[in-house]
Symmetry: C2
Amino acid sequence: MASTSSLALSQALLSRATSHHVSDNRVSLPTFSGLKPTTPRATASSSRRLAGRAPHRSLLPVIRATAAETIDATTEASLVEKSINTIRFLAIDAVEKAKSGHPGLPMGCAPMGHVLYDEVMRYNPKNPYWFNRDRFVLSAGHGCMLHYALLHLAGYDSVKEEDLKNFRQWESRTPGHPENFETPGIEVTTGPLGQGIANAVGLALAERHLAARFNQPDNEIVDHYTYVILGDGCQMEGISHEACSLAGHWGLGKLIALYDDNHISIDGDTDIAFTESVDQRFEALGWHVIWVKNGNTGYDEIHAAIKEAKTVKDKPTLIKVTTTIGFGSPNKANSYSVHGSALGEKEVGATRKNLGWPYEPFHVPDDVKSHWSRHTPEGAALEADWNAKFAEYEKKYPDEAAELRAIITGELPSGWEKALPTYTPESPADATRNLSQQCLNALASVVPGFLGGSADLASSNMTLLKTFGNFQKETPEERNLRFGVREHGMGAICNGIALHSPGLIPYNATFFVFTDYMRAAMRISALSEAGVIYVMTHDSIGLGEDGPTHQPIEHLASFRAMPNILMFRPADGNETAGAYKIAVSKRKRPSVLALSRQKLPQLPGTSVEGVEKGAYTISDNSSGNKPDAILIGTGSELEIAAKAADELRKEGKAVRVVSFVCWELFDEQSDAYKESVLPSDVSARVSIEAGTTFGWEKIVGSKGKAIGIDSFGASAPAGRLYKEFGITVDAVVGAAKELI
Amino acid sequence: MASTSSLALSQALLSRATSHHVSDNRVSLPTFSGLKPTTPRATASSSRRLAGRAPHRSLLPVIRATAAETIDATTEASLVEKSINTIRFLAIDAVEKAKSGHPGLPMGCAPMGHVLYDEVMRYNPKNPYWFNRDRFVLSAGHGCMLHYALLHLAGYDSVKEEDLKNFRQWESRTPGHPENFETPGIEVTTGPLGQGIANAVGLALAERHLAARFNQPDNEIVDHYTYVILGDGCQMEGISHEACSLAGHWGLGKLIALYDDNHISIDGDTDIAFTESVDQRFEALGWHVIWVKNGNTGYDEIHAAIKEAKTVKDKPTLIKVTTTIGFGSPNKANSYSVHGSALGEKEVGATRKNLGWPYEPFHVPDDVKSHWSRHTPEGAALEADWNAKFAEYEKKYPDEAAELRAIITGELPSGWEKALPTYTPESPADATRNLSQQCLNALASVVPGFLGGSADLASSNMTLLKTFGNFQKETPEERNLRFGVREHGMGAICNGIALHSPGLIPYNATFFVFTDYMRAAMRISALSEAGVIYVMTHDSIGLGEDGPTHQPIEHLASFRAMPNILMFRPADGNETAGAYKIAVSKRKRPSVLALSRQKLPQLPGTSVEGVEKGAYTISDNSSGNKPDAILIGTGSELEIAAKAADELRKEGKAVRVVSFVCWELFDEQSDAYKESVLPSDVSARVSIEAGTTFGWEKIVGSKGKAIGIDSFGASAPAGRLYKEFGITVDAVVGAAKELI
């Protein structure tokens, strides 16, 4: 189903009347006199179209999926305009009722939204999770009323009229920024600028990868576009640069980004801080660039640009659409005042008058409703056709179909976890980053949707999948992703991959300290329930000579404080395997694995089952749950705790050693289990971790002692650093003796 | 002292023999046969130069500052080459001795380093802090042996031969990445990629601002360049895009960045992830772009490119210098294996042979030493001349001179803190973001080096300085910085500003949650002792409808865990003023101020002096330091704690209310003071903060109760959210009663 993208540009342009490059309305605002819903726009395109084409699209018979793009169908111009104004006023009214929100973007981008959801995109409103749907991301997430209005018109059950009326209210499905976990039809959580365009790169990557792996010459079972609307703010953010550079490098031809070029941001005209040539920059990044000069009323131009974009198969496309923020508001359009506040009753009235909108708030005119109503049967037909196609595919390519089905449903192959390696104390000492690589390769061999890579540190993070090649423009079926030195883009791209299909399990990697570069994307993994796996090596001063810029100190604490993310610090092979077992199974919760650069022994007592509890006893010579002391370690310091216990036991003490590999999982255990590991009567507790002690009071209690590092590290060989910073067996033994 | 930048391009090119665009050595490696130190390079340029110019520069008389650029002086080609190879081998030998480090960059960038430090830059090695020095930033910080070798040759006392031999060792002045606080001569801490180029934008901004404010037609007292070497990794990072877009927008003509275009990063050839056109992108960003195709031996071309760059006064310049990483190593050059590991004894030997280097490790040949020795007297002369110039300036412009002196020395005007506003409980309730703006404006009126701005949220963060205009290309004397939506670049630019001169005090602003976008830069503020002030508003669910993407939860904890940064959460006007008082006075420690969007009352008992202690009692009806309960709050929740205390007191309880405005400062108080605020006998402690409870066990103890939010927030009006999340007076009263 290659749809229209095989049309030559000339054909594409011919199939719909266009009037490219009409004068730019942005600088001198139009009088809007031509915008009355009953008056056809006085443009060459609408006149031509009205002269010879079909009337309301809703009068046409329901169109089969293969023709769902409806390129040749046209709709009376007045109805298009009416539909667009419906979108504008739904946004205006919802923001007004909430007395909070961002009306400017929806008013300016309504034409883009209309063209996408009414004319271009393939989706099934009654099944927002249909696998082969086109994806849409509103990267400028503050304009979410645009998206809610579109979902409402298109017939999504998630956004009914009462949802619009509950915009930004407690427990509504229309929160102040788009949240995929609240509102079916929203693909990803946006709002923090630049995240959405990077998510979209991930969504497009996922499509490209799956298409390359599963499509057959006679059956292109994976075939959708990814559309984005992004604004000036997204463009300024570094994350968008990272992701867009990769999209150009990878040649993601089915990624089509519409850039809302409205020249206004919160601080006023973008001229005060943003004067680069975006067009030229995207050309430099390897994108195809189109400029629609009149995004306010040039509906045909927007449509034609998207068609042109589809003809360019080896490059993503940026369509710069010049618009007026708050279009239609006579006194606030083209100013920052319309960006992030309700228009106010008076200006809402003036806008209604200006755009000739006689309706009550939240009203959808019948003809608009009727026009959009076709998307429900059309969408059902699209999905039914695709289901039939999948049935054929399954018949002819049963093995591939089984894999693809697993990726679509998220079902893991039975017994997948048995592929994970196991270790005994006799297994050779190794860095957990190396043990991690064994797990990654084991998982990739059994989990069909497992893929990932590093931000230019594959050989340090040990993240290469040895049986796969590199995902590249010419080899998109491969599974090693090469992100370059772009941590933030990497994280957000992985969010997009994870949210594309439940069975896609992306991992990514850098040095643990550089989570600081990608923290905003990691937080969105946690918030938006994207089960991304973060493989973070060089997790302490144990990395040695690279020094304090590279030595994480506060990072473990900073993730333990973040909701809905699992922070693992495995101590050896079994714990690393345990961490991966949980990370893979938690599809709505991201995991961070902090891994060592340096070799660590395989410790007696560690286990996958232990990791599942978050914290557990690895050795104990006490009885009756009454040890003299409890020594607690994580990761590379668990060995130190174990050695200290040996010392103390030689002196006749009853000592328990506890691995605290994942605080969040321990928090979720029963009180009885917690008491069995950390009996409340035992206050002689010593923790050791080569990082900040911040937060450890919770575990060791007011009378316990946390050994750690509360300053920055230093540049020196690792052994020296451990000694100088007091992360030693002696320190643990000494502290324990003071407490016993 | 406009130096050579007023030369026309043609003159600049004529003044030194050049051979632009010789064939690119990168693709097919040279045989190095022409590189023997005694053989003049077989290039047109060197032949021409040798034919008619002066011999060793060291034979020339010491040159006065006004001629210190020494454009017309030339040095025998063999000596240039020998100097460059000295740099290469100092790096090779130091990495080899440490068995750790990055030899590849210094080997490839030695020619750039030589041209900069021997031929172009103006500095005084015996006073690395001389105000008017040219700044140099090695953004690709892993190649720090390049910089150490240059500082060593140039005569800086911070890098003696023993320092080179102690590369990457405990307490050495030559750590594994450049640290400004360890090594005089290093301007900023780099290593995390992209930070350095952004710091350099800040350094160049500082120069442009100070020059615009203080230079007079007859006395250009501020006048230096900022040079950077950055690599492919820096180019890929989003932060560099943000900062470079701003540098282009601001037209920072005295920023000259040399891009080490070596096509190799850790994962191998950059082709696997980085195929954009960097040249075209920088042109799009408004930079002047020059390509030196042969960066390995094209010394004249590098010099000429810098001269050309100086003629372009309204744009920063990117000089793309195509080099071979590990140049000179016969078996490892042009491969990732030379990037981050010692060459190994065998390859060091082969490289010595290949480059004709007969010397022992760490040896600086006498003629090279002698050649570089002139920088000590020259540098002294430069500074002496400038001092004389400043004396003249001071005579003629005493007021301006006093301000400039304060900026140079960092001395604050006496009584500056009296400008900060004070409040009584009768003062109107207000959001701390508004109270913050009063402080910012008060400070800007008395502190000459106070300047800053927001990442496109000035009207939300309330950060505009009302008596100043915008720092822009045409108005660089102004103090409102407009960063656009570029948080990460903003933070790093402010680091550069702060480290330019002790008296420059930059602040920057965004929503508190978006510290996630700039955390890597904030960490470097803390590590590199840059006293940047972070004005972070919308600090909790109190922001309401924007929802969980915008509501910080874990952020307070994440900064409390970070070393050397002060995390303030003021509750009202007095506490906001107190936070600013400390933030301004701490010039080696950054401060973060978490401020409310919503109105807060001016509470009885709050004080500037209290803030200085970090935590203090604001009200207490107990006696003998034995309250029944201690209620602890921060920021907007201090009011809730105070109200809860009122309720409990009505019931006859003796209750203390403590403001915990800055944990770090409290940690630094005496035990006696701590005991006076939190008596160890009182275990009935309740804390309330609209953020994670993570870390609060330290304050409330094992028997206390921390009230907070350990999940993500939600989109709804703020009042509703406080109720739904249980951040209420009732919750505090209830918790306290359970404990009393």
